[in-house]
Amino acid sequence: MAAVNLNTIRATVEGRLATELALAPPVPVVFHNQPYTPTPGSSWVQCLVSFGGNNYLTMGGTTGSSNSVIGVVVCNIYTAKGNGPGANYTISKRIRDLYNRVIVSGVHFDPPTGPEVVAAPAPEGYFQTQVRMTFETFEDL
């Protein structure tokens, strides 16, 4: 094994979401560092994958050892303002079910947090909720 490839993990996380939200009814999804101009009143999702703390798992040096790599997936779900939360929660459930306690390609997802309503949506003009999933993967050196 080798040092963990962060883009492989990112692709695992993002690819899973892109595939799901491409199914009917499709919902546009945008990821980190991508330009996107939403259509007013439409539904869309912003998915942000970030890596956090890494920890020693086992003894050893730069070979024959393992580390824990922790990360978080933050999904901002935007739906039309003034129509209640139903449409938003429908999308949130699709996202939540996609990661809830799932182990895929060596990435272990924890139970999701949310959807939490965001009091001050950014950008404005939408009803926004947020679903967050922490995950852990293991790096074998």
Binding site: Y56, L57, T58, M59, G60, G61, G64, S66, D110
Partner: protein, 138 residues
């Protein structure tokens, strides 16, 4: 002055007592070496006198469960369940990654604690006692 951190350590083991192999996914080890003291205080003495007696050791190794099979790691975590243990298993506890600072002894695995806790990695805790001489190359 050299300092060492815990991750520089490692554990090697051989249930047959010949050539020790690295135990995979070792998280920690500890060894306590104890020497009995024998009271040799003379009758009427003011101060107590002692001499050293028998030396023994006991310790613990924590291993993350990785489902390894047909290797020394597997032998290590299952050896507590073996019959007719003559105490010939070879232990090597290393303090540095270069592999020159080590404690060597034969021993008996006396207990193993297996468990699973939701949200945590599965850890197996192995306890052992030494059998015979303990060699400190530290």
């Amino acid at each position: 002055m050299a300092f060492y951190r815990g991750q520089q350590g490692s554990v090697k083991f051989d249930d047959a007592g010949t050539t020790a192999a690295t135990i995979a996914s070792t998280r920690s080890w500890s060894l306590s070496v104890e020497k009995e003291s024998l009271d040799t205080t003379a009758l009427g003495a003011t101060y107590r006198a002692n001499v050293g007696g028998l030396i023994s050791g006991s310790g613990t190794v924590e291993v993350l469960y990785t489902a390894s099979s047909s290797d020394e790691t597997n032998a290590f975590i299952e050896m507590v369940n073996s019959a007719n243990d003559e105490g010939a298993a070879l232990f090597e506890l290393y303090l540095d990654t270069s592999g020159t600072k080590k404690i060597t002894f034969d021993g008996v695995i006396t207990s193993a604690e297996y468990g699973a806790t939701v949200g945590e990695l599965q850890v197996i805790t192995i306890n052992f006692v030494t059998n015979g001489a303990i060699t400190l190359d530290i």
